[in-house]
Symmetry: C2
Subunit: 203 residues, 2 copies
Amino acid sequence: MNAKEHKPSGKRAESKDESRQRILAAAADMLREEGGGGFSVADVMARAGLTHGAFYSHFPDKDALIEAAFRAAFNYRESWLAAAESAPAHERVPRLLKGYLNAKHRDRPAAGCAFAACAQEFAHGTADQRRAFADEIETTLNRLTALLGDKDGNADAASCESEVIGLLSLCVGAMSLARAVDDPALSNRILEAALTYGRQQPA
Amino acid sequence: MNAKEHKPSGKRAESKDESRQRILAAAADMLREEGGGGFSVADVMARAGLTHGAFYSHFPDKDALIEAAFRAAFNYRESWLAAAESAPAHERVPRLLKGYLNAKHRDRPAAGCAFAACAQEFAHGTADQRRAFADEIETTLNRLTALLGDKDGNADAASCESEVIGLLSLCVGAMSLARAVDDPALSNRILEAALTYGRQQPA
DNA sequence: ACATTCGCATGATGATCATCATGCGAGTTG
DNA sequence: CAACTCGCATGATGATCATCATGCGAATGT
């Protein structure tokens, strides 16, 4: 048997696992709130209720944490999509748009879309981070395609892909812009206009 | 007369102005290539052919440089838009989309859109940086509205605003995603799909 | 119970920077 | 041309971090 397969169990291992989860959760929040450059290892550890020294027995380095935290930020994708799935086919796009392009999402990035929070920073990230980004994009597109593809007469695959990618791009772009501007009125205009634009898109 | 209005001239002042322009140009490039956190003051100064010590006689601090460099990155907006203006009204949107959503733009951020390069970082930036972002967004939207608003029968103002903002969001989002992913094939798919999506938008 | 393991805390270490202090030499002024 | 100005270079300084080294104490296994 492979010696590497040792999966220790017991109170100690369990506690370490809980610590790891707290670290990941803290990092996933901070990553979306401030970006990977916006917090230090010590910051995350403090948020997780630990001190900086313990970090390196959980992750090899900060870059690995950022990658893992990014992936962890998609743990709620299914529940996010479930809300749209429960709607009739022609209502799904509007519902997804509304769930994304709103002030609450803009103002609470820690609970929101990691694409909109991380895209630009990951463009200069490690190979692993960029692969993670691509993985999550692929998965998200697949799930959206499954959700919207069997809409009515289900258009050809190409047109469905462009719709799904277009919607995601629109959402990510509008949220990025809405968060970057200073003027709240302009920020709201951006969210509302993007919402309108996305709804006008033909089948 | 106001003592503050002194505008020194002469060989020395001229040379300082040239230095400032070189610093700004270098910073505008690096800001779009690597983000504000991706370069040091010494890096920009070296790229401008100077050493780090000279920096603080040109700008009060790095944040101010980033703001100025961001604004400077829009110096070419008019020539960028001129290409679209020379096209017949119904060709303008496709031409703008094509000029933005392509591999060359994706691969040379230093010569490209500063919105797509900076949005997420500016969301955590200084007040001045965020104001600069809003200013440039406003100006860009106004110019685009002037360009696309008198399209044919020119739709009502609200619909034009949502189209212009939607297009910009779509472009910024797609470029951000295309740059963040690792897989070149996926990156191309994103650019192409967003192009298709943007073209399908009704008048 | 004893020896061992291991999660975590404390406390370096070294690197990277932003920013400041000083000095020289070319330009400018009278 | 002598006194002065000022752009730029060199060389600190201090802060912030990522990462590593060490040690304690609780959990584990014999």
